[in-house]
């Protein structure tokens, strides 16, 4: 419960920080949008329209209230610079975000479904055959994948699977009309990349979690009592390993989400990370804020889930001292 409220406080604090970035901006939004040559009355009108003439605290709560109703305001780009032009081409931030958020969730979801089972199997088997050649090569390879930046992995995949052996497309452009099979085909490379970059972490963490458990006394006891290798693992080790493993998964999903920003950029995939990078270029703050808020709250929630699983699966932690 305490943990839950702490998470809420964190998101709340971050929303304050995000919002206050408005006021850190050199100069003023209105002048920023209209340009240097704008007349005073035009600036004043726009300030009134954006609500910039109200005190910051009022503006913050207005904004927060709107966010809760799913209204992130409207994007700066495309806003008409000509005064009195009513044909405003500015788009609602929500309209920009929702389809891209779906794309990102699809990408990370598929990657997670691939990465989680694979890395669990690899991690557990590496722990069982500890210090064998299999284990050494697996941990060695995972160290390399962990140490390479996302774009390195991504470009190696492009080089091998898209240009030298053209199996998959380099640019994964999907739209509403794409069928599911088409989506899988087009997102194959970004999915592989995301899978590989998180698999290294997950595998190493699973391996050390299992090794920790296997070295405890009750496992020794089970072995001595004549349980088979299979029994020791499935009956004795796994129930206690779920807590660390599920924490590993939750942490790595959060990590994958952040990694998707770079991967989407490489493959020009229309996801939320790509949108955020583009908006940072254009200093389109409402969009950046909305994306950042989504990223941060997902990240906080995933970490919260990791903590909660840890607490639930270990009854001793349910009753604090």
């Amino acid at each position: 419960m305490l943990r839950l409220s702490l998470g809420l406080v964190t998101v709340f604090a971050f929303s304050v920080i995000i919002f206050s970035t408005f006021s850190f901006l050199p100069g003023d939004f209105a002048t920023e949008i209209l340009g240097q040559s704008a007349t005073k009355s035009a600036v004043k009108a726009l300030r009134a329209e954006l609500g910039l003439d109200k005190p910051p605290v009022t503006r913050y709560f207005d904004w927060l209230g709107n966010v809760f109703q799913g209204d992130f305001g409207s994007s700066f780009s495309g806003r008409s610079k000509v005064q009195g032009d009513q044909g405003d081409r500015s788009r609602e931030v929500v309209g920009l975000i929702v389809p891209r958020l779906k794309n990102t969730l699809f990408l990370t979801g598929v990657a997670a479904m691939l990465a989680i089972p694979l890395s669990l199997i690899l991690g557990i088997s590496a722990a069982l055959y500890r210090n064998s050649y299999y284990d050494r090569s697996a941990t060695g390879v995972s160290l390399v994948t962990v140490s390479s930046p996302e774009f390195f992995t991504a470009y190696i995949f492009i080089l091998l699977l898209a240009t030298l052996f053209p199996v998959f497309p380099t640019i994964s452009n999907v739209d509403e009309a794409s069928t599911l099979a088409e989506r899988f085909y087009r997102t194959a490379l970004p999915v592989f990349t995301l899978t590989l970059i998180t698999m290294g972490h997950m595998m190493r963490m699973t391996r050390s979690a299992i090794i920790n458990i296997l070295s405890s006394e009750y496992i020794e006891m089970a072995k001595l009592s004549g349980a088979s290798r299979y029994e020791v693992i499935v009956k004795h080790a796994l129930p206690n390993a779920w807590a660390p493993i599920s924490q590993v998964i939750a942490i790595n999903l959060a990590y994958m989400l952040i990694g998707s920003v770079v991967v989407e950029y490489v493959f020009n995939y229309q996801g939320i990370g790509r949108l955020m990078v583009g908006s940072v270029y254009n200093r389109d703050l409402p969009v950046v804020q909305a994306c950042a808020l989504i990223f941060a709250s997902t990240y906080v929630i995933l970490n919260l889930i990791a903590d909660l699983i840890g607490i639930i699966s270990n009854p001793r932690l349910l009753y604090p001292k």
Binding site: L6, G7, V9, T10, A13, F14, I17, I18, T21, F24, L25, L143, V144, S147, S148, P149, E150, F151, F152, Y155, I156, I158, L159, T163, L164, P166, T170, S208, I211, N212, S215, A254, L257, I258, V261, V262, Y265, V266, M276, V277, S279, V280, Y281, R283, L285, V288, Q289, A292, F295, A296, Y299, V300, N303
Partner: protein
């Protein structure tokens, strides 16, 4: 002759427990170092050598432009030239200087801020500790890269802003670790004695506590350095990190990425954008090796658990 006959256990023991100098201990540690640590140290040495002596090693200037853009390998340019005709090999060497320099600065800032506040929090243990710890908890719950995104889009992506922002955001990890280690130290007698002697705060922090908590901080320094290299590289790759015309590995990858399309005609063209990326990966693997080794010798950790 008479000295040899009269045996003194005391003198022999005294010989044996003679305190080794730092250099001797270093030599012994090095002779026991595994091959991975040697590999890491040699690579790191090459990187730092390249970074420091970049103008003397690089065959061409950092921003020197040649008439042929996208020149192939060889023929005066070892790795060819980039999209506006700059020598890629020279830029890789200069990039060592820029990337490592900026990342090191950011890590040092993080180390400085985090450690000082961490020890102060450990010494105080009252409101200040609570306040600082809660702030750090909040900051740590937010992904660093997203936070940096926002701050850079507000303050503008300059190298200076990049260093300061990352230095401050990453200091949270140093705060956590230095606070938790220092909490165990501040209750020990030597800190008490220093306080009673009337030493001031900075003496207690830097001369008394810091030397005793140095080794976890050094390990954290190595790991954070890798993390900062990653973050800055990702940002540069996205075009909002280290700014041109400074060469840096990640933006070189982005600038030359198009060459990958021609890999089926000329394999070296496809490899060109991967070289700077591989440079980052190699650097991080090497740091990992050295940190692992350091962790092993300072904690006496058994290989079993690692």
């Amino acid at each position: 002759m008479s000295e040899n006959l009269s045996y003194s256990a005391k003198s022999e023991v005294a010989n044996l427990i003679k305190r080794r100098t730092r250099l001797e201990r270093l030599k012994i540690a090095l002779s026991k170092a595994p091959i991975s640590a040697w590999f890491g140290m040699i690579v790191l040495f090459i990187y730092f050598f390249a970074a420091i002596f970049a103008p003397f090693i690089a065959p061409h200037g950092e921003a020197e432009i040649f008439p042929v853009a996208y020149a192939p390998w060889g023929d005066g340019h070892i790795f060819g030239t980039d999209q506006i005709g700059r020598d890629i090999f020279s830029r890789i060497i200069y990039a060592a200087r820029n990337t490592i320099g900026i990342c090191l600065l950011a890590t040092f800032i993080a180390l400085g801020i985090g450690t000082v506040f961490g020890i102060i929090a450990a010494l105080d243990r009252r409101y200040l500790d609570q306040l600082l710890s809660r702030i750090v908890d909040t900051l740590m719950a937010i992904p660093v890269m997203i936070f940096t995104f926002i701050l850079l889009s507000v303050f503008g992506p300059t190298n200076f802003n990049l260093i300061v922002i990352l230095g401050i955001l990453e200091s949270t990890r140093f705060f956590r670790i230095s606070r938790s280690v220092a909490v165990g130290q501040v209750v020990l007698e030597y800190v008490e004695v220093a306080r009673l002697r009337g030493e001031n705060l900075s003496y207690i922090i830097f001369r008394e506590i810091l030397p005793n908590i140095a080794s976890p901080l050094i390990i954290e320094f190595g790991l954070r350095f890798i993390f900062i290299i990653f973050t800055i590289s990702s940002l540069s790759f996205l075009g909002i990190g280290i700014q041109p015309p400074s060469a840096d590995w990640a933006s070189m990858v982005r600038e030359n990425a198009i060459l990958i399309q021609y890999a089926q005609y000329d394999i070296t063209a496809g490899l060109t954008p991967l070289i700077p990326a591989a440079a980052i990966a190699l650097l991080c693997v090497s740091i990992n090796f050295v940190v692992d080794w350091y962790l092993y010798i300072t904690s006496g950790l058994k290989d079993d658990v690692k």
